[in-house]
Assembly symmetry: C2
Homo-oligomer: 161 residues x 2
DNA sequence: GTTCCGTGGTTCAAATTTGAACCACCCTGC
DNA sequence: GCAGGGTGGTTCAAATTTGAACCACGGAAC
């Protein structure tokens, strides 16, 4: 090896891509957050929790599984589920076969609230991202970001080693 | 008009794109944040502040302009610049022609710290995003997200009105 | 010169996030 | 049965973010 040579700086194309990524991420997040908060009284994390629970046959998920699915920390999830519990949208239930585990379960009120929030949310997602792009662009984006995400999910090996 | 008809839900392609967008955003952010914190002792917001200042001929920017450039709130910027000031990487300087304005200026230490952090940062950006994609994918991504970002920058008109 | 409104920044409290303890429980090996 | 190590969740304090309230100044109208 030869120590650290001159780093490979980003060229203009790459820089543009990087900043577009950051900017779009920030702006879209802000937009979605805003819409959900004012129209449905939910934060985006809270909304996503409800979605994940609703996607499940019995409307419940272990805290740990939920945290992994949402790419959040355990303590972060504990907090948000606590908030949703206060709102009566989610309840906690212990696991019969494993006393350590806790299931978050969607209440009827939670399912109803999600139903009310969903149309506005998808509309916002379309306005911010989906409907702004051509189908080809969207497919390309999904492909590229899917690759990026997949690569970061698994404990990555550097390409250079 | 006919009130709200059945909302246009996302089809599988669209849903995949949306989730890839969210997932990649979260994971890449985490990665970048992590790298900067451990290797340079800076948060990503702090690093970006230094970058913006260094990009300027005299290494200084008004607080408001800086806040706009970083897509952050005024109070958020006040806080982070305060942190950087504590670290001696940035200083505040009043504006001679407008007593309300405050300039954030990069100190020598700040410029040096940025210089030390940059190589590791670009390497992380390459590992997480740039080098993972083919040039074609990257171009497509920049194009798509550039469109998204541009559209959200300006106070948007809904496509349907 | 004096209102009056808009801009530039800061301050404040409240909400959220993070990561490091921490506790309780499961499981394996002895 | 019992010691260890690992997993599942919560708790805690510290850092950060957010938005509203606030203060001071600049600029235009009169």
């Amino acid at each position: 090896m030869d120590g650290m040579r001159e780093p490979r700086w980003l060229n203009d194309e790459e820089k543009h891509a990087w900043y577009a990524f950051l900017t779009a991420g920030a702006l879209v997040n802000r937009q979605i957050e805003q819409q959900l908060k004012t129209d449905a009284g939910l934060s985006h994390p809270q909304y996503e929790i409800l979605v994940r629970l609703a996607d499940t046959p019995d409307g419940s998920l272990r805290m740990t599984d939920l945290a992994n699915a949402l790419l959040t920390t355990k303590s972060g999830l504990t907090y948000q589920v606590g908030q949703l519990e206060k709102l009566g949208l989610v309840a906690r239930r212990g696991c019969p076969t494993d006393d350590r585990s806790v299931f978050a379960v969607l209440t009827d009120a939670g399912r109803e609230r999600l139903g009310g929030a969903a149309p506005g949310h998808v509309a916002a997602v379309r306005d911010a991202l989906v409907d702004v792009l051509t189908p080809a662009q969207l497919a390309c984006l999904a492909d590229a970001l899917g690759t990026v995400a997949r690569r970061l999910q698994s404990p990555g090996q550097s390409p250079g080693t």
